[in-house]
């Protein structure tokens, strides 16, 4: 499996788990009073920071794991870790484009609820959801391209 594909898996898993925990914590407070009183700001900042840090840590661990596996099995070369070629770059472009489209659709949604006068809580969370959806769509498109070809 190319290192970029492994990185995509790490990114995808993090993009599911971290926002999943965030939305469970924050949306779990719905119904307990006005949404304007839900303190989503700190959990959202923590979730964004956690996504970045966990992705970096996961990528490092996958790199180390790949290196150890290569040394133990004796097949392959540690020089392959981090090596990318034109196929990786083309897959990355496709993923970025799909993610951009998803983020754009989300942005239109944010624009709509802003115009309709929704609370800041919903505006911030739909915007965050758009970023998450962008990351998920990008990751899925890249993995499908790696697995099925294009």
């Amino acid at each position: 499996m190319p290192f970029d594909e492994k990185f995509t898996w790490v990114s995808l898993v993090v993009s599911v788990v971290v926002p999943g925990v965030y939305f469970m914590v924050v949306l779990g407070q719905l119904g307990g009073g006005p949404v304007g009183q839900i303190a989503y700001q700190v959990p959202m900042l923590v979730a964004i920071g956690a996504m970045i840090l966990v992705t970096i840590a996961g990528t490092i661990l996958v790199g180390i794991g790949t290196g150890v596996a290569i040394e133990l099995s004796g097949s392959g070369s540690t020089e392959d870790i981090g090596r990318t070629d034109e196929r990786d770059r083309e897959i990355s472009r496709r993923g970025l484009l799909a993610g951009y489209v998803a983020a754009s659709v989300g942005a239109v949604g944010v624009l709509a609820i802003t115009m309709l006068g929704f609370d800041h809580f919903w505006i911030a969370n739909v915007l965050y959801l758009s970023f998450v959806a962008s990351s998920l769509v990008s990751g899925v498109v890249k993995l499908v391209a790696y697995r099925r070809g294009f």
Partner: protein, 75 residues
């Protein structure tokens, strides 16, 4: 096996004809990952024209000897 590309190739046969060259060796010589060589052999990826020339040069054959693109009525 899904084959998204219509471009067929004889890379695998040419590797075996070249002293059973491994996928890793070919990958090193054309500067790509082994997974990309696998994807090309399985027709899951059509390489760029530049990479196609590099592959043909490794086996010292013409481009048509490595890659084929069937006519419309043959697809």
């Amino acid at each position: 096996m899904v084959k998204p590309t219509k471009v067929a190739n004889r890379v695998r046969a040419l590797r075996f004809g070249a002293g059973e060259m491994t996928q890793a060796e070919l990958a090193d010589r054309i500067g790509v990952t082994r997974q990309t060589v696998i994807a090309i052999e399985q027709a899951r990826y059509s390489p760029s024209i530049e990479m196609a020339f590099k592959i043909a040069r490794v086996f010292n054959v013409g481009l048509d000897d490595v890659f084929q693109y069937p006519d419309d009525d043959q697809r």
